[in-house]
């Protein structure tokens, strides 16, 4: 991050974040803007900028996921469905952007109901819904074991969004893990198996999607606040805002807004622990 002029300073945008995704499941990563969702996706793909300072580690099927392994997996076993329809190259026919093997392209297009001949079109000749399907095909061409979908639904009507989500369920049913990055907690509850609630760059809670049926089933005060703020649950807004990455509190990142905050919460960041089958980073969760 640049300060005044060209002076630079370090922003700690992600801290103490622990998340895992299993084969055959959809893990939704839900959180407010600036909570580190997209950075998490970029880290998982190994495409963070060169000057990023990274601590901690990642593992891929038991093996440490380092730069060399990333390079081997990226675009093959780990694939991204990007957020924007602008990720396709406007000057290349869409078929060639998916695979050089026309059989693979034909098979994928048939599966996603894209008419024969679509592979010869340029991106600007596709509708929004077709573009989205083409990008899903591109992600699946390498036979991925992990698909990361970065905000795949904004701008889609509810009907088209449901349709896109069915595609991701199909991918998970095929044995791959799916990480669905979204700020739409409603969508996550309806379509994911588990939900990781991100707050200011840390995972507040990782819970089964069914736990979001009732606030009493949730563990972290922030997830409960999210629940209460949904229009169908009363539209109650918790006060305060997520702390700026340059001014993080020393203890629990949610402590300044937390109704259950105790002195120990202010002292040190809570460690993730298992509570009623979910993971939660909160000293007072039970």
């Amino acid at each position: 991050m640049y300060g005044k002029g060209f002076s630079q300073h370090l922003l700690k945008t992600i801290s103490n974040l622990n998340i895992g995704v299993r084969e055959g499941e959809i893990l939704a990563v839900a959180g407010s803007s600036g909570s580190g969702k997209s950075l998490l996706a970029h880290a998982a793909l190994g495409i963070l900028p060169k000057n990023a300072v990274i601590e901690g580690g990642m593992a891929w099927r038991g093996a440490p996921l380092d730069a060399a392994l990333h390079k081997r997996l990226r675009g093959r076993e780990i694939a991204l469905v990007p957020q924007s329809v602008a990720y396709l190259d406007p000057l290349i026919r869409v078929g060639r952007q998916i695979s050089n093997d026309s059989q693979t392209v034909g098979r994928l297009f048939a599966r996603y109901h894209l008419k024969p001949g679509t592979e010869k079109l340029f991106p600007h000749e596709l509708s929004g819904g077709m573009t989205r399907r083409v990008m899903i095909c591109a992600a699946l061409a390498g036979g991925p074991k992990l698909v990361i979908a970065d905000e795949p639904t904004p701008g889609l009507t509810p009907h088209l969004a449901e349709h896109a989500m069915r595609h991701f369920r199909e991918i998970a049913d095929g044995g791959a893990g799916v990480i669905l990055i979204t700020h739409d907690i409603d969508l996550a509850v309806r379509h994911a198996d588990r939900i990781a609630v991100l707050y200011a760059g840390t995972a507040a809670e990782v819970a089964d999607a069914s736990d979001f049926a009732d606030a009493a089933l949730l563990r972290h005060p922030y997830s409960k606040a999210l629940w209460a703020a949904m229009p169908q649950n009363g539209f109650v807004a918790a006060a305060g805002a997520q702390p700026y990455a340059g001014e993080l509190p020393p203890g629990c990142l949610y402590a300044p807004r937390c109704p259950e905050c105790s002195p120990e919460c202010m002292a040190a960041p809570p460690q993730p622990r298992s509570v009623r089958g979910g993971e939660v980073s909160c000293c007072n969760a039970h």
Partner: protein, 202 residues
């Protein structure tokens, strides 16, 4: 001081009308939601009502007169993407001061911290930035707010916070609101009348 929208026609490309003869009216202090599929012209209509776009034909009347061409517009538009609605090279204090000079208690009520006035837009989150856009639109001369999907890209807590701020300000000052949204639940929550804008397809 009602808003009268009469026979608005508008298109971005020749021969293709986004809006073709749209008429509606909103009473002073009324809260109306505008819903419809994407691409049906909700945002275009919002901009026309707020005077940010000129229709090909038809007119928008506020209190029986057309909108002022210069000076402060009593109908204020809050846009979907706050980062596109502020000057990226201005600190937010300057952006706010361009519209009016709110006092400290108003800023506190809007949940704006004083330190933010000294920041550039890139240093704030979308929700924080949207507070500035709402605060800017709530100048004393404002009579009507058009909220064009002001909270879709935000998490539910921020969404509820922003609407609480806006509804509170609107009811204490008797402002009318036109809320454009995809969410029927949100529409039901913030408005007393819903206009369904599903177009008659040609």
């Amino acid at each position: 001081m009602r808003i009268e929208v009469r026979d608005i026609v508008f298109g971005y490309t020749k021969g293709k009308k986004v809006l073709d003869g749209v008429s509606l009216s909103i009473e002073a202090g009324e809260r109306v939601a505008l819903v419809g599929p994407s691409g049906c012209g909700k945002s275009t209509l919002s901009q026309i009502i707020a005077g940010a776009l000129k229709p090909e034909s038809g007119e928008v009347l506020f209190a029986g007169k057309s909108l002022p061409r210069r000076g402060f517009c009593p109908i204020q538009l809050i846009r979907q993407h706050p980062e596109k609605a502020v000057n990226p090279r201005w600190k937010l204090g300057r952006t706010l001061a361009e519209a009016w000079a709110p006092d400290d208690s108003f800023l506190a009520a809007m949940g704006i911290e004083k330190a933010w006035l000294d920041r550039y837009p890139a240093e704030l989150s979308g929700g924080e930035l949207q507070r500035f856009c709402i605060a800017r639109a709530l100048a004393p001369e404002t009579r009507f707010i058009i909220a064009d999907e002001i909270s879709t890209m935000l998490d539910v807590i921020t969404q509820a916070q922003l609407w609480e701020l806006l509804l509170h300000a609107a009811s204490s000052r008797g402002l009318g609101i036109l809320a454009v949204t995809h969410s029927e639940r949100l529409a039901a929550h913030v408005s007393s009348r819903i206009i369904d804008f599903t177009p008659h397809m040609p």
